[in-house]
């Protein structure tokens, strides 16, 4: 029933669980998968006093971030390939991960977002918040949440 599943990953172990489930669901539904990793821009404090001139550090930081992102998405792609599920990788810079996820879902015409939730509760949820919760609030398509 789903034809195109977006699976965002942050490279964490909890995301890996969602990946396995996502591939199984895609296989059952005959869907394809887009693996997504949102790269956040370099924190402003790296541009602050003391670092202001050192563009090289910022460039290096961004380069490594992207390399790490590609690595995580590629791992997802390998799993999908093994299961014979068509796969596409997207690594994108966005101000926050949830904005990137919602934008990618629209742009790629996905009909499901499948992601994990760290499931923070109480104070930690208020302070750190939940990317998944934000995605649910903003997404136009269904969101399947793994714990």
């Amino acid at each position: 029933m789903f034809k195109h599943i977006l699976i965002p990953t942050d490279g964490s172990a909890i995301a890996a669980k969602a990946v396995t489930a996502g591939i199984a669901l895609a296989k059952q539904s005959g869907a394809r998968i887009t693996g997504f990793y949102a790269v956040e821009p370099v924190p402003a404090h790296l541009y602050g006093e003391g670092y202001v001139a050192d563009k090289r550090i910022v460039a290096e930081f961004e380069k490594r971030q992207r390399a790490s992102a590609r690595k995580h998405v590629a791992a997802l792609g390998r799993e999908a390939h093994k299961a014979g599920v068509p796969f596409d990788a997207v690594v994108q810079t966005s101000r926050t991960p949830y904005e990137g996820i919602v934008a990618a879902t629209q742009k790629k015409n996905c009909d499901l977002v499948l992601m994990a939730s760290h499931g923070r509760r109480g104070l930690a949820r208020l302070a750190i918040g939940s990317v998944t919760d934000k995605v649910i609030q903003l997404s136009k398509v269904p969101v399947l949440v793994y714990r």
């Binding site: 029933m1 489930a21 199984a24 669901l25 059952q28 539904s29 939730s117 499931g119 923070r120 509760r121 949820r125 939940s130 998944t132 919760d133 649910i136 609030q137 997404s139 136009k140 398509v141 269904p142 969101v143 399947l144 949440v145 793994y146 714990r147």
Partner: protein, 147 residues
């Protein structure tokens, strides 16, 4: 990949979308459905001073709610039967809907909760909250959220 899907309903039009999707997913997966409706305890203020002794009114209130709940789950059962998906209706009392949903998913050994979210944002989310968000925080199994 899912074998037993719990679909909580509050009888709102928003739920209809989730129900239709749930039946389609169950059909594709060869799963069975438990349609679930929570009856919240009668608000304490109904027992307070000017109403004290109006046991008849409270009994009537509870009876009507139960009837409405049964009607909602019966509607879902009819839709599922049309698609040849096995469905069992459950109407249960719980302190809050999210507690009832999480407990039922556990007691009935479901492997997916499929529900809709009103998707309140900002202040409304802080004050009214989100049943779905609570379910995600507490559930041990995946939650598929429709908007």
């Amino acid at each position: 990949m899912f074998k037993h899907i719990l679909i909580p309903t509050d009888g709102s039009p928003l739920c209809a979308k989730a129900i239709a999707a749930g039946i389609a997913l169950a059909k594709e997966s060869g799963a069975r459905i438990t349609a679930y409706h929570v009856l919240e305890a009668v608000p304490a203020r109904l027992y307070a001073f000017p109403y004290r002794g109006e046991e008849e009114a409270i009994a009537e209130f509870e009876q009507r709610r139960k009837d409405a709940a049964r009607k909602h789950v019966a509607d879902i059962a009819r839709a599922a039967r049309k698609q040849g998906v096995p469905l069992e209706p459950v109407v249960q009392t719980a302190r809050t809907p999210y507690e009832g949903i999480v407990r039922a998913a556990h007691d009935l050994a479901c492997d997916l909760i499929l529900m809709s979210s009103h998707g309140r944002r900002g202040l409304a989310r802080l004050t009214v909250g989100s049943v779905t968000d609570k379910v995600i925080q507490l559930s041990k199994i995946p939650v598929l959220v429709y908007r």
